[in-house]
């Protein structure tokens, strides 16, 4: 084996500057990380692992999937019920999508609260925000592909919201749908976006993101302009220390994914019927907070308000120009960040429970469109009295 490696090494050495390549790789693997590097710093690597998972399982799904109105649902049904381990591949892809959004969000939250987006890492942050947007677009385009009732109507609601954007809305909607209504053209467009366009954009941006991260190194908790570069004495070696930490987490995370797939298999539901909308249709969980927020305002004002959070995210490194990175010394940004997270969670929960009936302490409530619980029994009694 060693001989074979030696032969390959010699062969490559005669054609490539192997010494420089080896030196570069050694330098990268032994690069010391800041001493505060913790488990929270593994969210980025886990996002990368999930991207790899989505690409591999996505390629496998493409082998049986047929992106046409007549075959999409049936082919997914075939993958889930007939193809060997098809349920596992589909489960890994569907759960992987949800977990990827969670992981990218956690990675952003960590970067925000540790002030790692500040100078000189503004570009890395901006690219990261774009990557988050691409992850959501992946979710949106992939959700339609099974062509079931839930995916069809959630996409209808999503594209209708796009259509209400002033001036450009109808134009963008028609371009997205490939016509006036969701049909075969929409499915083909979403499929091409999902399996060709978005993956290439994602890989390109992830590469720049990682190159920037490696070139600038992980941010320390020192003030901007006063960063002490970690060295062999105070730094933590990337290899093997941090890599081992990532590997441990990767194993736990993979086991967690498999558990989710076994316990909560991804349902396919009924085939899409463009003439029957099922009751209480809602978008996927990651769009629920925006969806709920839009209910409280007239369409245009709602759309304007919903563009503020992504814009703020994108521009935050240029707005927050203080030198401090420690969150205890950034009360304003930290409060704003926590408030944004609380608002998103509250809106998401309200969006999830709205237009549903729930039983709470033995009483039945109907949660209305705006998320306000109405006591069903009292309402009925009141009506009876009348």
């Amino acid at each position: 084996m060693r001989k074979l490696i030696q032969v390959v090494d010699n062969w490559l050495g005669e054609r490539l500057p192997m010494t420089s390549i080896k030196e570069f790789l050694h330098k990268q693997s032994s690069k010391p990380l800041p001493p505060h590097t913790s488990w929270f710093h593994t969210f980025g690597s886990l996002s990368l692992f999930l991207i790899a998972n989505q690409i591999i399982t996505g390629i496998l799904l493409m082998i049986y999937y047929r992106p046409t109105v007549d075959n999409a649902f049936e082919s997914i049904n075939f993958i889930t019920t007939k193809a060997t381990f098809g349920w596992l591949i589909r489960g890994l892809h569907a759960w992987g999508a949800t977990l990827m959004i969670i992981m990218v969000l956690l990675h952003m939250v960590r970067t925000f609260f540790m002030g790692a987006f500040k100078k000189p890492r503004e570009m890395t942050w901006v690219i990261g925000v774009f990557l988050f947007g691409i992850t959501l677009t992946f979710g949106f385009t992939g959700y339609l592909l099974p062509w079931n009732q839930l995916s069809y109507w959630a996409t209808t609601v999503g594209t209708e919201i796009t259509g209400s954007i002033p001036v450009m809305g109808e134009f963008v909607k028609r371009l997205l749908l490939g016509g006036d209504v969701i049909g075969g053209e929409t499915l083909a467009r979403f499929y091409v976006m999902h399996v060709i366009v978005l993956p290439w954009v994602l890989v390109f941006l992830v590469t720049i993101h990682i190159v920037l991260m490696r070139a600038q190194g992980l941010a320390t908790l020192d003030r901007v302009g006063e960063e002490i570069k970690p060295d062999g004495k105070n730094g933590l070696p990337f290899f093997p220390h941090h890599v081992l930490k990532e590997l441990v987490l990767f194993c736990i995370f993979f086991a967690f994914m498999l558990t989710l797939i076994v316990l909560w298999s991804v349902e396919l539901g009924e085939k899409a019927d463009p003439f029957t909308t099922p009751a209480g249709i809602k978008p996927e969980w990651y769009f629920l907070s925006t969806y709920q927020l839009l209910k409280y305002f007239p369409k245009l004002i709602g759309l304007f308000i919903s563009t503020i959070p992504p814009l703020l995210l994108l521009l935050w490194p240029f707005l927050d120009r203080t030198s401090e990175r420690r969150f205890s010394k950034r009360p304003f940004s930290v409060t704003l960040g926590i408030a944004a997270i609380v608002l998103a969670v509250v809106m998401g929960v309200l969006g999830y429970f709205s237009e549903r009936e729930i039983t709470f302490f033995g009483k039945k409530y109907h949660i209305d469109h705006y998320g306000i619980p109405r006591d069903i029994e009292t309402t009925v009694e009141g009506k009876d009295k009348k």
């Binding site: 109507w153 209708e160 016509g179 006036d180 209504v181 237009e355």
Partner: protein
Amino acid sequence: MTIRKEDAMLPEKDVNEPSEVTRRSFLDLVLKGGVVVWLGAMVAPAFSYLWPAHSGGSKKSTISAGTAKDFGGVGNSKMVKNEGKPIMVIRTAEEGYKAFSAICPHLGCIVKWDAASKSILCPCHAGVFSMDGKVVSGPPPKPLPEYNVVVSGGEVLIKL
């Protein structure tokens, strides 16, 4: 502001003097312009290709919703397809019909006729419309678009 020594020694330029166009700068401009035009010529067909193609054939002026028998009685409704879009026809009287686009103007869900409450309901966000297509409650921003209906030779025809 500090002025570099070399700059200070340069001869002063008359700002009114027209800038000299050399053959090199002219060719440079032509080349750059050519690249822009070429890019435009490449992008325009690609974009036109992406823009949804219009379905061929002449558009119908009316479509049939069947006969009175198909409705089964006053107070019943029927869905009719028109170029992939649903139209709801309600039989309001022995010889009276009303037709509306069944697409909710709020977020595009398909509305349903509720014979018991004599109203049109949207299953997505609890929008309620009257028998005239007007918004009674819920988030829909406008009434359902209405179509004229005529009965000719026993056939219910929707005018598009």
